[in-house]
């Protein structure tokens, strides 16, 4: 279990559903699904590239749930296989009940990996330091005295390869990143991304004109809860 510190546990019970009952256990986890742990296959991508991650380090902070705030969580490499369970960030005793109104921050994502297609390999190692607050998350975490409740921060790594920030059903492409390797040394650097326009990608109303800013923007869409649950998003917190 990674180190965590409980900075604040409210003495007030803020959710009526959690009041007056027995104590239970609340577990907070983070999971990158198969896309992070096993990679994104060429079949999953829309341009035939296959992507895998050597590391996918996520820094989580200010997890707010059950009237408490969990901060100081160590960065976690979620590329480590977990057989679907994800990795534990915190475990706390809380009053049994149903908890909503959850939120958390992803303050940094550091990804390293490679993409392959037709015998060509491109590597990447990008530091995506774009603090993003995920709040009003669509989930209810149930903690019972007899059974622990789990709040899972789910990271959707495929979003990094979306071709649109606003489409309901974006496609997954790597080709633009591969093309950004201007010195053709097989490594796609941050400087090369910064020098490459976004081509046919759709940034909606955002003022984005290079691939570095593009992938930063996409990194702010990674966070979900309990699988497919959405949250509202506030960038640059």
């Amino acid at each position: 279990m990674t180190k965590s510190s409980l900075l604040l546990m409210s003495s007030l019970c803020v959710l009526p559903a959690a009041c007056g009952g027995d104590d239970g256990t609340l577990v907070v986890t983070i999971y990158g699904e198969e896309f992070v742990e096993e990679g994104i296959s060429a079949d999953e991508m829309d341009d035939g590239w296959a992507v895998s991650f050597d590391s996918f380090v996520v820094t989580v902070d200010r997890v707010e749930i059950a009237g408490m705030t969990i901060s100081g969580v160590d960065p976690v490499d979620i590329s480590t296989p977990t057989n679907g369970s994800g990795q534990q960030l915190s475990q706390q005793d809380v009053a049994a009940g149903e908890y909503t109104d959850t939120s958390y921050t992803i303050s940094r994502v550091e990804v390293a990996g490679k993409a392959t297609k037709d015998g060509v390999e491109k590597t990447f190692a990008w530091d995506l330091a774009a603090p993003t607050r995920y709040l009003n998350c669509e989930t209810t975490t149930v903690v019972e005295a007899s059974a622990p409740g789990t709040f899972q921060i789910t990271v959707h790594a495929d979003h990094l390869f979306y071709d649109s920030i606003v489409a309901e059903e974006p496609q997954l492409f790597f080709q633009a990143f591969a093309d950004a390797d201007s010195d053709a040394d097989g490594s796609i650097t941050w400087e090369e991304l910064s020098a490459q326009g976004i081509g046919a990608y759709d940034p909606g109303n955002a003022d984005i004109d290079n691939l570095a800013d593009w992938v930063i923007a996409l990194s702010q869409t990674l966070g979900h809860v309990d699988g497919e649950g959405h949250c509202d998003v506030e960038g640059q917190v």
Partner: protein
């Protein structure tokens, strides 16, 4: 399709002291506003005149501000009227939908000024923005298969003049199916006694940033056969960058506006 707003008759509008009354709503005509397609000059010195500016759009909705105290009041009424879209990452500019004009339209901003699009229904309030869907030309919308707009989102035609050079251009834009354009400016105080019209404007030249739909487009350079005609469309390598630039601009809220006139 039955209008969601039509359900408003059964809704309640909550006043500050807890007294409930019926939510005030008004019907306002929505018309094509052609002010924004007058001739303009691009950053590369081309004077552009549009002879056609056809865009397929659908399902106009109008939104009130996202301030917490305002939403708290409005949400009680508007949640009953129109489901609030959940803010998926990236969809954070939507506001709260409290007005609408459903349906599909093909609008030619260069030739259809003052055309009525229909009657929108809005709950009285302080409006800040509007959203709509960029669709495509279909027979259902009166676009026949031989029409160059058929199956496409926008067809923009005109002339770009710079010095002694004149280029006739045609731009054909394809947006993804269901591509919603969010956060179009719509600053209006709508009250129960409002009787004006809402103008739907395409602004070829963004009046705020003075950035045009054709910024950075060098029409002469694109005319590689020097015949004075350029077609900018998808999947043509020679015009790919220009196509992407224009499509990106057309798909932002910078080049559309709704204007209320009492």
């Amino acid at each position: 399709m039955m209008s969601r707003i039509a359900l408003a008759g059964a809704s309640l509008f909550w006043l500050g002291c807890g007294v409930a009354s019926e939510a005030p709503k008004v019907d306002l005509e929505v018309v094509v506003d052609d002010v924004g397609v007058a001739a303009f000059e691009t950053n590369l010195g081309y004077r552009v005149e549009l002879s056609g500016a056809r865009v397929a759009v659908a399902d106009l909705v109008f939104t009130v501000a996202g301030e917490v105290h305002t939403i708290a009041l409005w949400q009680r009424a508007s949640d009953i009227l129109v489901p609030t879209a959940h803010a998926h990452p990236g969809h954070s500019q939507g506001g709260e939908v409290t007005g609408e004009l459903p349906g599909g339209f093909v609008i030619d901003w260069a030739n259809e000024g003052d055309r009525s699009l229909g009657t929108g229904t809005l709950i009285a309030g302080s409006y800040t923005a509007a959203n709509f869907v960029l669709s495509s030309g279909t027979e259902e919308l009166g676009v026949m298969p031989q029409d160059p707009l058929y199956g496409h989102t926008a067809l923009i035609e005109g002339t770009a003049i710079k010095g002694q050079d004149t280029v006739n251009f045609t731009v054909v834009i394809d947006s993804p199916e269901g591509r919603e354009l969010i956060g179009v400016p719509f600053e209006a105080e709508i009250t129960a006694s409002s009787t004006g019209t809402i103008g739907f404007r395409l602004e070829a030249l963004d009046p705020i940033e003075l950035d045009s739909l054709f910024a950075d487009i060098d029409f002469v350079a694109l005319d590689d056969d020097l015949d004075g005609n350029v077609v900018i469309e998808t999947d043509v390598a020679a015009v790919e960058d220009a196509y992407n630039e224009i499509r990106r601009k057309l798909q932002t809220h910078d080049h559309f506006r709704f204007v209320y006139t009492e």
